[in-house]
Symmetry: C2
Subunit: 412 residues, 2 copies
């Protein structure tokens, strides 16, 4: 129950550390999405964006040389400005500020630490270390060369320039060491972790997330079960089987997955324990993992009723739910916020998969998962339109997730 | 909601690694308590106990020499037996088996890994490294010299013998390295962690716990708020203030804490956000941390009612609660299991404190905390007798927690 934790969460600064092209921004971004979804007000302050916004783009590598004293002063001033904005934002109610900068020297980190601790906020350094040249090269090609810094430049020239920029940072780089306070080192995209003085609830949670995180590039397919006998009657919850149309969806979906991800492909299928998802996945080539945590929202005393019956018999409940569908908890049942709490372990399971993932679940579950992946404000998820017989396909691209919706035909 | 996770938990073996007197058994014990409290069926298999049970006690150091081939074969057979029992237990429904042995050589660990993976169960090595001689010495004096192996022996002779035993292990010790699968190294009682290939929900949770864990030796004082106006009427929930007797408890408690822990002592006080705990802690020297997660169990539609009213108006609810008080969820409210889920972050906060801790909360909250610290089966916690105006003082000793109950006088 994320809301229980809110009031006692001390504020926290996460300061990224690492050479360019080590996936710092990607990691910052994933942490922001995850912590935001859990209910923490989280924001990323990216120093590169400050530079581009204030000084314009197209800085060449020489600008990043440690011997270019004027530029270095400018860059430090921008880094300070971004940090000041972060601390201002915490003062006005922010909870987790992510400071996305290189912070590659001890001196720079000491300065960050001094300023954060001066306002009584805890600090955790997150260093990304990756010495696999192929990963670094892929990162540069996929993200850095798309940066406004290199727009309209010949890719090979841009690549050489960026490599020279990295070399400037590398020439003064000092890895985080004991004595610099709390830190986590994420080595080779989470294969190895080293952590010192990571204590407390939220830092522990972040460690947990980083242990499961990686830069996986696999599609995720989300869908509700096929039409159920209860769907026909606009009835909530229960454990009904599929309608004839729902059965045709099971056939269509199995065919679609096979075509889309390849026959015999190594994929992970996750579904709930309820009859309508079991029947929907009956023709899959791969046996689904059945998670109770993916079962539909528990409607408590409303379970098995139609919406009309609920409105008639429990008008106050009906009105309360319409007024705040996200926080509303069915008597004896769950709220959307509760659902986020119990879906979290499955989300981490999806995140750590390197194989394509297919999730066959229920309306509330697809809503909260979709809102995580597409970074919608959690409160809005309860109103998302997630129609039946539709596959939401999410494919990671450099800038986020590309979405395609496939409406499958279920009419005979 | 721990019960949501149960059905999909894959089984797991945690294999301890480390020299004698590095706190392995203590760590195994803490993990068992924590995972058990969260609802996982967890058991420790300690190879030392197998040796003592089957071969008798009083083995001298020469028995542990790597050159004593006969003894070594015997010890390996016992270690294999304990592991076989662990795997049998998993087969019969256990969820997390903790293999408490030294496992100090690569060859031994390879054997463990082979046997665990042969039955399709995941394995995580947990290595405890501690090179602080004072910590090791304290551990030997406090636990090892109390062992049945050294009963009735002169402590100095026993100490010398035990040190020689450690030296035998140290002579062949190989630390866990990349390539041995998933592992966590806990260095200097959690100050530093190193982890490789730790993925998935439960291993992540364990990493989180180890990051917060330490061998703290501080007293924990648990108490309910003083008598409230609702207590006088046998009424559930609400946000009432204290009765006159409750107010006198606030005076008595502040005095007791000052006397017991010392005036001006550096202590942590945790309480809830409700009026009755705020008033109970009003005279404390230290400002309490107020946690919403420590608020009383949410009684939903029964909030503010007396037990007699509930029994009369909602007889089925009343009966359902009596039948299974632990799992029973008040309509629109919480079950004890829900309470464990939301109290967990506060528990980790208490665990990581190195200062004495005073918790002023509510009946259900003290019940679940007490059942954690005193290792009672979670299901029984809902029936624990936690009277008003009583301080439960828990002091860590080598073998667990020593409990003292102080009933404070509140009559004028």
């Amino acid at each position: 129950m994320a809301h229980e934790r809110r009031s006692e969460t001390p504020q926290l600064v996460l300061a990224m550390v690492g050479l360019p092209a080590r996936g710092k921004s990607y990691m910052a971004h994933r942490l922001r999405r995850y912590l935001g979804w859990l209910g923490y007000r989280t924001r990323v302050f990216n120093v590169g964006s400050y530079r581009r916004a204030r000084l314009g783009v197209r800085h060449r590598e020489s600008y990043f040389s440690p011997h270019n004293t004027a530029a270095q002063r400018q860059r430090e001033a921008l880094a300070d400005l971004a940090l000041a904005d972060l601390l201002d934002w915490l003062r006005s109610g922010g909870e987790v500020g992510i400071y996305d900068a290189t912070n590659t020297t001890r001196a720079r980190r000491a300065r960050v630490r001094e300023r954060v601790e001066a306002v009584g906020v805890r600090l955790l350094f997150i260093e990304s270390i990756c010495d696999d040249p192929s990963l670094v090269e892929a990162n540069i090609r996929e993200t850095k060369l798309q940066s406004p810094d290199y727009v309209e430049m010949d890719p090979e020239i841009a690549l050489a320039d960026f490599r020279a920029r990295v070399a400037h940072y590398a020439s003064v780089y000092e890895t985080v060491q004991s004595g610099e306070g709390s830190f986590v080192k994420v080595i080779d995209v989470g294969r190895r972790l080293e952590a010192e003085l990571v204590r407390g609830y939220l830092p522990g949670k972040i460690l947990f997330f980083l242990a499961n995180g990686h830069a996986g590039r696999r599609p995720i397919l989300l869908t509700r079960h096929g039409e159920s006998l209860f769907n026909l009657e606009d009835r909530v919850g229960g454990d009904p089987g599929l309608s004839p149309r729902g059965e045709r969806y099971a056939v269509a979906l199995a065919g679609f997955v096979r075509l889309r991800l390849g026959a015999g492909a190594d994929i992970a299928v996750l579904s709930s324990t309820l009859r309508r998802t079991v029947e929907t996945t009956a023709l899959f080539e791969v046996a689904p993992q059945r998670w109770r945590a993916l079962d539909e929202i528990d409607a408590g005393i409303c379970d098995g009723k139609t919406y009309a019956e609920i409105a008639a018999a429990l008008p106050q409940e009906y009105a309360a739910r319409q007024a705040d569908k996200f926080h509303y908890r069915y008597p004896g049942g769950e709220s959307y916020r509760d659902v986020i709490g119990r879906v979290e372990p499955v989300l981490l399971e999806i995140e750590r998969q390197r194989r394509p993932v297919v999730v066959v679940a229920h309306q509330s579950i697809i809503r909260v998962l979709y809102s995580y992946f597409q970074e919608l404000p959690a409160e809005e998820c309860a109103w998302l339109r997630i129609p039946l017989h539709t596959v939401f396909e999410l494919r990671p691209v450099a800038t986020g997730l590309e979405e395609e919706r496939h409406v499958l035909t279920v009419d005979p």
